[in-house]
């Protein structure tokens, strides 16, 4: 197997000098390429913090996080930004897109940052919009897209840099069930067809049901880690715009 993420003895404490809150407590975790993993747990269990640590947005107090052979805890702030750009795709809960750019420009932004050739940027953006089923909305501003469509564009942007892993923080939290289901269909299709690794934090039972591995966090510790049967093939990807 190809290990993408290897987190070892990761601990993160907030307010260490005042009232310390241990958000992530001695977490060990291995994620293999192509996994479709859900991080679940009650509010305050440390899901988002763990996702931030894996994504290099925050630094752990102790432990190491190795992503595709690179210990990101040893990288400087600038190196981390560069690492995120090339290796990690993010889908946030909301307000994901730059409002002044069109959907296509939002997706192309990542490739612009990577200094990819213009022709390749255009080609890749077209493919991604085809995959998320929003080819006809490429030149639309985010404000003219529904919440679900915006999240699909965010997924396309996350994939634009061909990352090692896509981290999604409660991606369906603000979506209605149809849009959520549609987004999950797209993510699981990309996971299956492109062997893309997805990790998402969620409360959403629909998402948990679609995950092939569910890691449950309680008080910053891994309470359970369960592999599940892949059921995603039962769902057809709905590519019609909402």
């Amino acid at each position: 197997m190809d290990t993408i993420i290897d987190a070892h003895q990761v601990t993160k404490t907030y307010n260490p000098k005042a009232i310390p809150v241990v958000a992530v407590n001695d977490v060990h975790m291995h994620i293999e390429r192509g996994e479709f993993t859900a991080l679940v747990g009650p509010s305050g269990s440390g899901k988002t913090t763990l996702l931030n640590l894996i994504g290099g947005l925050d630094k752990p107090d102790t432990g190491s996080i190795v992503i595709h052979g690179t210990d990101i805890t040893r990288l400087s702030a600038n190196q981390l930004i560069d690492f995120r750009l090339r290796n990690i795709g993010f889908v946030f809960q909301a307000f994901n897109l730059i409002p002044v750019l069109s959907a296509r420009e939002n997706v192309e932004l990542i490739m612009q940052l990577q200094r990819a050739p213009k022709a390749e940027i255009r080609k890749r953006a077209a493919i991604l919009f085809d995959q998320i089923g929003l080819t006809d909305k490429m030149d639309t501003r985010p404000a003219q897209l529904s919440g679900g469509q915006q999240q699909r564009v965010a997924v396309a942007r996350a994939l634009a840099s061909r990352p090692q892993v896509v981290l999604a923080d409660e991606p369906t939290a603000n979506l209605d069930s149809k849009s959520a289901s549609n987004l999950l269909d797209i993510m699981s299709k990309l996971n299956r067809e492109e062997n893309m690794t997805f990790i998402f934090s969620t409360h959403d039972q629909r998402v948990i049901e679609r995950a092939r591995r569910v890691i449950t966090l309680v008080d910053g510790k891994i309470a359970s880690d369960t592999a599940r049967v892949d059921t995603s093939h039962r769902h057809d990807v709905q590519t019609n715009p909402e």
């Binding site: 994504g55 947005l57 925050d58 930004i81 795709g89 730059i98 750019l101 940052l113």
Partner: protein, 407 residues
């Protein structure tokens, strides 16, 4: 290029806010340029009036004359020196003078006066003396007759009408006795009581004879096309004619006038500063709002891999574009306004106009069209824009992604 595109799009994300900010800059520039050009125009006009009254822009004396203004410090007329000065590219006109004090007497009345020997043809090019004749007439070309022009106030004190004779008694060159009688051919009027009560003009050769100072002059008086290069012109003339002479600008001869102008300009700078400060706070308020609104977005951009330096470039370009658009629009709008005020200057009326005219000044408020005024205001506003843009840059530099994206 795409960074510029992003900055331009960001600039218009809140159209009304951007327009309000740019309008504030627009009006600040328009107001500053207009008031500065009016102020400069008025001072230029004032100086031009003042130097054409008597002193000229520049005077050349024998070294040491200004310290001790006596005939013994007069210079021998030197055609070569006169030619060097007259041929200087900035010099419009040159007139020679001899000047000293005398007692003017008519019947039982005697008054002290300043006797000025002038070149009848050259003097009007500097002081328009011929146009100040209130009664009688001006000297003839190359006049060598024993005739005099008296200032109106002096003539009144001496109870002397045109056509009568005045007796002058003084001390001439190297203590020689000076005495003579001169027929009054005209009276000249000056607005300044100081000048109007004590000036008496003779043709230069007549005055030189009176003072036993043949071929001597106390000053060469120069007129310039503009006083923008005043100090440079004076220094250049001084270099050309050597250290035997002193070359003095009107600012050196009348430092109190220069100080008054500088003080007035200083006040204007303070007013402009306050105006810009108010505008600056307005822009800063907008920036505070903008940064608070975009905190999450900026955090998200860094999270997905945009380096802070690039983000800073985007924000800097946004700020500068915002300022530049307002500034350029303000400058462009001020051009026709300033031009109009230059061509159709504001005119005083009533008592104020009369007071100005009494002093021989035109009662107008013209605007200066000096290009530097526009450039300086542009630079000031741009500098302010750069200074204010340091705030968003600092915020981005200190941005913590997790904190920024916390809801």
């Amino acid at each position: 290029m795409w960074l510029l595109k992003l900055a331009w799009k960001n600039l218009w994300r809140n159209r009304s806010r951007t327009l309000v900010t740019q309008s504030a800059i627009f009006f600040a520039v328009l107001l500053s340029v207009t008031t500065s050009s009016l102020q400069d125009g008025v001072f230029d006009h004032f100086v031009r009036n003042m130097v054409s009254y008597y002193s000229g822009y520049i005077q050349v004396h024998r070294a040491g004359y200004w310290e001790q203004q006596t005939l013994d410090n007069a210079a021998v007329r030197n055609k070569t020196v006169e030619s060097v000065i007259a041929n200087h590219p900035d010099v419009n006109a040159l007139a020679s003078r001899i000047e000293s004090y005398a007692l003017a007497s008519v019947d039982e009345i005697t008054k002290g006066c300043v006797v000025i020997g002038v070149e009848p043809d050259a003097e009007p090019q500097i002081t328009q003396l011929n146009q100040r004749v209130a009664s009688g007439r001006y000297f003839e070309y190359n006049d060598q007759r024993s005739v005099a022009l008296l200032s109106e106030g002096l003539a009144k004190r001496l109870q002397l009408p045109v056509g009568d004779t005045v007796i002058l008694i003084s001390q001439g060159y190297h203590g020689a006795m000076a005495a003579g009688k001169y027929r009054v051919i005209g009276l000249v009027r000056f607005g300044s009581p100081e000048l109007n009560d004590q000036l008496l003009y003779l043709p230069l050769p007549v005055a030189q004879t009176f003072f036993s100072a043949e071929n001597l002059v106390t000053s060469y008086v120069l007129s310039l096309a503009t006083d923008k290069n005043l100090e440079r012109t004076a220094a250049s003339i001084h270099r050309s004619i050597g250290k035997k002479y002193e070359v003095m600008t009107w600012k050196e001869m009348m430092p109190e006038v220069d100080q008054h102008i500088q003080t007035d300009k200083g006040t204007m700078y303070i007013i402009s500063g306050i105006l810009y400060l108010l505008i600056g706070f307005g822009i800063f308020g907008t920036l505070l709002m903008l940064m608070a609104e975009r905190k999450y977005e900026l955090g998200m951009l860094v999270a997905i891999g945009m380096k802070k330096q690039k983000l800073m470039v985007v924000l800097l370009v946004e700020s500068v574009l915002n300022v530049v658009v307002g500034c350029v629009a303000g400058m462009l709008a001020s051009v026709p306004l300033v031009w109009y005020l230059h061509v159709y200057p504001i005119r005083f009326s009533g008592e104020l106009a009369e007071a100005y005219q009494r002093f021989g000044f035109e009662p107008v408020f013209p605007a200066s069209t000096d290009g530097w005024l526009f450039i300086v205001q542009g630079i000031v506003v741009l500098a302010m824009g750069f200074l204010l843009s340091l705030y968003p840059l600092l915020k981005v530099w200190r941005l913590d992604v997790v904190t920024a994206m916390r809801k």
